[in-house]
Symmetry: C4
Subunit: 238 residues, 4 copies
């Protein structure tokens, strides 16, 4: 069974990258991913003249596209998690150590929050702010559970059977998730926290964060268990 | 001539998966596909402020994207039918047995209806509901005939000549079909029945279902016959 | 120098297909291509509530997607021309004979017009109609010249250097062309004639057809000459 | 270490192309790229009835699509820079000589400005015009710095690890950039100058050009330094 399934999604042609480069890749990717989620939300809301569907179209397009780009170039270095739910998945599957998983989560948060603040700077908004966007209720938690479950299944299934397509698959999954879930598929605990720091289109009020995190963690765990059976690693694969 | 053309679209690296895993893959894929069709329709209609074209753009983007994702990761297990018209095609071509075809159809319906109900739950709508969206008349049946004919031709042609591109090809075909047919290309008997259980954007009133099914079955049969000649399997392919 | 450059864009695994299958592939592809151009135009115009940009977005998405699908599966049979400008290019480059080129053009027109009429039937419009959509003036002819020049350069360059990407490249080029040219990039003499038979979003008044054809032919010829030098076929390629 | 990293992104099957063909490829690509940016902006603004978000959607779609097409077919000849910031990157990395870099920049500007003028001609606007679109302030310069930094990182990372995906990666990056930066990611000094010559949707007033150029150059330099470490060229790659 492959020890480093997620990291090996894209064949590496270089020696195994060191920790500093792996953490830098996670930080850089989270910076651009979170910055894009927030920035394109601001752009969409500003330009769409009140039509939220059009704002969401721009938000979707930008998020899906940047995910494709970031995973394409950074997966060979760090595995391109940008998401503690993915890092948790790798931890459970013993593809990453507990210490490294903690560091991954830290730089995802740090890099991502810098990305949110960079978006505020670009759009001349106050850097430090807190969202007032209420996203509460059991349906939202259920929605995040479904969204994160689907994301982890997508990653594990695609890495298992079609590793070269992991970048477009994740970009496409999140693009769909923005529309088929009522919560617009945050599906990422770090981005949930970071979005609480932006009182813009993609924000979430701080009191609603725990509910989202709960849904995301449950979704992750259910997906990991299911995939252990569904995408079974055959012995002939070494 | 290849015995399992549809299932082998994506090269498998694992032993032939057992029936339970194949049925689970069909149920899981149908859950996300049907849930996306309904969920993104609700999202689009809710946000678009009455502009149906914008709602349809979101519905199209989400459906095309999730089809690409689901086929990419599940085709190696079950063939990624998610559609009794595709299963019927495989049955006629003797790529699947009658018993397995029946089970496929059952889990497509069951998984798909659960997906519809999950979408209702996410958007805080009553789980059990029935569509009142009238889609009647010969033009609608003709439209479904064309839509399903094109889908089956797309699958058989792409699997025949460019199997690695089957996932983006089917996603792109349905994306186009949402716009070039007047019925928005259901092209799937199971999704037609499941949509009757949702009084939302993507729904269809129950009395109109038989007409859609008739168009879909005729379109499937004509496509199978045409492709038997057009995409001929040469003997040199074993 | 490759004799059948366009036809070999996608590697064939089968014996060279006979004339009947090649013509059938051209007719089938033109049927779906032209039907999609007209059908998605009707859908967009009907739903967009007067916002022509939104209608054009749907029209663009559907046309780009169906081009990708049709070229993917039909290029191995006929070369997936669906366009007399492409057939003319193949004729000048001696990749197709004059007789076959004439037959290609005939079935492109016949299959395409059937596609237009099928779109009318699907949307319950009179089958036989004539466009009143005026598209006149030198700027429109210049626009068609640029559009067709770019299409032929795209085909010859991609077939020359990255043949596996020909289907997404042509789909993407026409998607861009719908927006960067003032004529919305017909770039196809057969579709120009067929669009004159539809008094809908994508139509063109019959008196304006010759101007479009002139621009398309000039654009084709300039592209063929430029590419003969720019995408030179080196002797080491056999 | 690879001497011609950018140029070799797409495997060439032909002898190394001569200077004339390389410059022609840069001019041709810049012509279509800049023409598409301006032309699709005009189209979007004209049709969108004042909804700037819809205009930007069309502008984004067209620009991303044409970048994918142009890089796919022209990278094997010239490296498909179309952008002095990319040429500067190649110069710093000693993948191109100073003389050739100067010629590249000249033909990017010349070809690109012809593209802008061609767009004006297609849309029946005065060929010679100057933008009055004010885009001033430190936030815009910061935005261009981020945008160009991300573009250079995308190019160097993708060329390093997944060279076959460079064309879709750059197209997707710029599509995202149009939405996540407040300046809509010009990220290209030549296009910045050329856009000053168009008083349309995508224009920029001449006095604001130096600020954009400054941001772009700083972003380029920071990216080159970071990537020298992050995407390290291992000795085992020859």
């Amino acid at each position: 069974m492959s020890e480093h399934l997620l990291r090996d999604a894209v064949p590496r042609r270089a020696p195994y990258p060191g920790t500093a480069r792996r953490l830098a890749a996670e930080a850089l990717g989270s910076f651009f991913l979170f910055g894009t989620v927030i920035g394109s939300g601001i752009m969409g809301e500003t330009l769409a003249g009140g039509n939220v569907a059009i704002a969401l179209l721009g938000n979707t397009l930008a998020t899906g596209a940047i995910l494709f780009v970031l995973i394409t170039m950074l997966a060979p270095i760090s595995g391109a998690h940008f998401n503690p739910a993915v890092t948790l998945t790798a931890l459970i599957r013993r593809e990453i150590g507990a210490g490294e998983a903690g560091l991954y989560t830290l730089v995802q948060l740090a890099g991502g929050i810098l990305g949110v603040w960079a978006a505020h700077l670009m759009f001349e908004l106050p850097v430090i702010q807190f969202s007032t966007h209420v996203r509460s209720g059991a349906a939202q938690a259920f929605s995040e559970g479904i969204a994160t479950f689907g994301l982890i299944v997508t990653i594990l299934g695609t890495v298992r059977y079609r590793p070269a397509w992991i970048a477009p698959a994740v970009g496409a999954y999140i693009s769909a998730g923005y529309w088929f879930t009522s919560s617009t598929s945050f599906a990422n605990p770090a981005i949930t926290v970071a979005r609480a720091l932006s009182d813009t289109f993609a924000g979430i009020a701080l009191p609603d964060v725990p509910l989202f995190l709960a849904g995301q963690i449950v979704g992750t765990l259910v997906a990991v268990v299911l995939c252990q059976w569904l995408f079974v690693a055959e012995p002939d694969e070494g």
